[in-house]
C-alpha cells in the first residue's frame, strides 16, 4: 500500500484528536459483519468502507427492487433484479478497493452465526424483521460478540450497542433485556406495511457506523446500556438508560444446541400468546391420560424414566431435532409436549398442530425444570 496515498485518503480523520495512525491501524485490522444490505446496511457499508475498515462481511438474500430506491440510495434503476450484496460490493470496490469484502446472498441463519461470527469483531444488525433481530441478538450473547443495533419505523429510529464487553469483564445489556419476547405477528408494522421516511435509515445507518468505529478505535463512549431514540418529525432525541432484565435470561438459548433448535421464524410469527400451554396442576388434573412426549435431546437431564414409570404415564422420547421426520407417529394422538424450560415444547406443539390439526396438543409450561421437585 502506498503510504502517501493512504495518508491523503484518510488525512481528515487521521488529524482528529485521539484518532491518528493508531486509530487507522485499528480500523484496518478490524473485521465487521453487516447483516442486511438495505436502508440501514447501505449507509453502514459506505461509511465503514470509506473509513478504511479492513475486512467486512455483508449478508442479504434480497434483490434490488424499485420500491427500495427511495431510501436505499446506493442502488440505481439498472440494479433492479440484481442481488443487493453484489451491487454493494461492486460500488464499494470503486470507493475503496483496499477493503476486503465477503458477501453472502442467502438468508442469514443460525448455521451462519455459528460458522462465521467467530471471524468478526463487531456485528451490525441492519436487518428488517424481528426473526433476524432476535436470532442475531441471541447469537451475539451466546458467542460473546458486541452488537450494533439499529431499527426504523415510519418517522422514528433506534440505535444501541448491545453485549459490549466492559472493563469489569461483564457485558452490557442485550435486546432481550428490553423486549424479552417479540411482539405478536402484525402488531408492529415493518417498512413495507407502515412506511418509512427515506432519509431516516440514512441517519440511523450513519449512527450505527459511528458506533462501530467507536467500538473499534476505543474513541468516546458508545451507546452501551443506552437506547438512542430519534424522531425525524420533531428532531427530538430521547436517550434511555438500560438495565439488565432478569426475565431476558429465560429466553436466551444457553447452548449452541438450544440455539440451533430455536425456530426464530416461528417464534416471531406465533409468540407465546394463545398457544395451549398447561401448567403442572392442569396437566395432572386433566391431561395425565395424554401421551407425554419429551422432546429434549438425549444429553439433557434429568431423564423422565423413573418419574413416568412411578406415575404409570404413557410417554416417549422424541428429540426436537428428529421430530419433523417422525411426526407422523403422533398424528391423531392427544399429546403433551415437554422440554427443559417450556419454550421448545411450544414449537413442537405448533409443529404437530400444523401437521395434524385433529390432535389435541399441549405444551407443559416450565418444562422439566418446573417439575424438578417431583423427580
Amino acid at each position: 500500500m502506498d503510504q502517501t496515498i493512504q495518508y491523503e485518503r484518510y488525512q481528515r480523520q487521521l488529524i482528529l484528536k485521539g484518532f491518528g495512525m493508531a486509530g487507522q491501524q485499528k480500523l484496518q485490522q478490524a473485521r465487521v459483519l453487516v447483516v442486511g444490505a438495505g436502508g440501514l446496511g447501505c449507509p453502514v457499508m459506505q461509511y465503514l468502507v470509506a473509513a478504511g475498515v479492513g475486512h467486512i462481511g455483508l449478508a442479504d438474500h434480497d434483490k434490488v427492487s424499485l420500491s427500495n430506491l427511495h431510501r436505499q440510495i446506493l442502488f440505481g434503476i439498472e440494479d433492479i433484479g440484481l442481488y443487493k450484496v453484489d451491487v454493494v460490493k461492486q460500488k464499494m470496490f470503486s470507493l475503496n478497493s483496499d477493503v476486503d469484502i465477503r458477501t453472502w446472498n442467502e438468508r442469514w441463519t443460525q448455521q451462519h452465526c455459528i460458522e462465521f461470527f467467530s471471524e468478526y469483531d463487531v456485528i451490525i444488525d441492519a436487518t428488517d424483521n424481528f426473526a433476524s433481530r432476535y436470532l442475531i441478538n441471541d447469537a451475539c450473547v451466546l458467542l460473546g460478540k458486541p452488537l450494533v443495533f439499529g431499527a426504523v419505523s415510519q418517522f422514528d429510529g433506534q440505535v444501541a450497542v448491545f453485549n459490549q464487553l466492559k472493563a469489569d469483564g461483564s457485558r452490557s445489556v442485550n435486546y432481550r433485556d428490553l423486549f424479552p419476547l417479540p411482539p405478536a405477528n402484525g402488531e408492529v408494522l415493518n417498512c413495507a406495511e407502515g412506511g418509512v421516511l427515506g432519509a431516516l435509515p440514512g441517519t440511523i445507518g450513519a449512527m450505527q457506523a459511528t458506533e462501530a468505529i467507536k467500538i473499534i478505535t476505543g474513541l468516546g463512549q458508545t451507546l452501551s446500556n443506552k437506547l438512542w431514540n430519534y424522531n425525524a418529525l420533531t428532531q427530538e432525541v430521547f436517550i434511555m438508560q438500560l438495565v439488565a432484565n432478569p426475565v431476558s435470561l429465560q429466553h436466551i438459548p444457553l447452548s449452541v444446541e438450544q440455539f440451533m433448535s430455536t425456530d426464530y421464524e416461528w417464534l416471531c410469527e406465533f409468540p407465546q400468546k394463545g398457544i395451549k400451554e398447561i401448567d403442572q396442576l392442569q396437566w395432572q388434573e386433566n391431561y395425565f391420560d395424554h401421551l407425554l412426549v419429551d422432546i429434549r435431546e438425549p444429553h439433557e437431564l434429568p431423564r423422565l424414566n423413573s418419574f413416568c414409570s412411578s406415575l404409570a404415564l404413557e410417554w416417549m422420547e422424541l428429540p426436537l431435532s428428529n421430530l419433523e421426520n417422525n411426526i407422523a407417529c403422533l398424528f391423531g394422538r392427544n399429546v403433551v409436549f415437554v422440554c427443559q424450560a417450556g419454550v421448545r415444547s411450544l414449537m413442537a406443539a405448533n409443529m404437530l398442530m400444523k401437521s395434524s390439526p385433529a390432535s389435541a396438543v399441549f405444551s407443559l409450561k416450565g418444562g422439566v425444570d418446573g417439575l424438578a421437585e417431583k423427580i
Binding site: S153, G194, Q241
Partner: protein, 76 residues
C-alpha cells in the same frame, strides 16, 4: 404532575404523543391506568422508562416524574 410520553406506533394506540397525569404512586398503577384509558395499549409490546431509566419491576413514581412507553421497531 407526571408526564407520560408515547413513542413510535404506540401513538396510534393512544392518539397522543404525551399526556399529563395528576398523580400516581407506582409504575404498575400508571401502566394499568394507561391501559384503561387507551385499551389498544393492552395488546401492544413496549418497555417503560421512569425519568429516562428503564424499569423492570414495579417502582415508586415521585411527583414531577417523566415516564416513557417505548415500542420495538423492526424496519431497516
Amino acid at each position: 404532575m407526571i408526564e407520560v410520553m408515547f413513542f413510535g406506533q404506540l401513538t396510534d394506540a393512544t392518539g397522543v404523543s404525551s399526556v399529563m397525569i395528576e398523580e400516581v404512586t407506582s409504575t404498575d398503577e400508571l401502566i394499568q391506568m394507561m391501559k384503561m384509558r387507551y385499551p389498544a395499549l393492552a395488546s401492544s409490546t413496549y418497555m417503560v422508562a421512569l425519568n429516562n431509566t428503564m424499569v423492570t419491576e414495579n417502582t415508586i413514581v415521585a411527583p414531577g416524574s417523566k415516564l416513557a412507553f417505548m415500542p420495538p421497531f423492526s424496519g431497516g
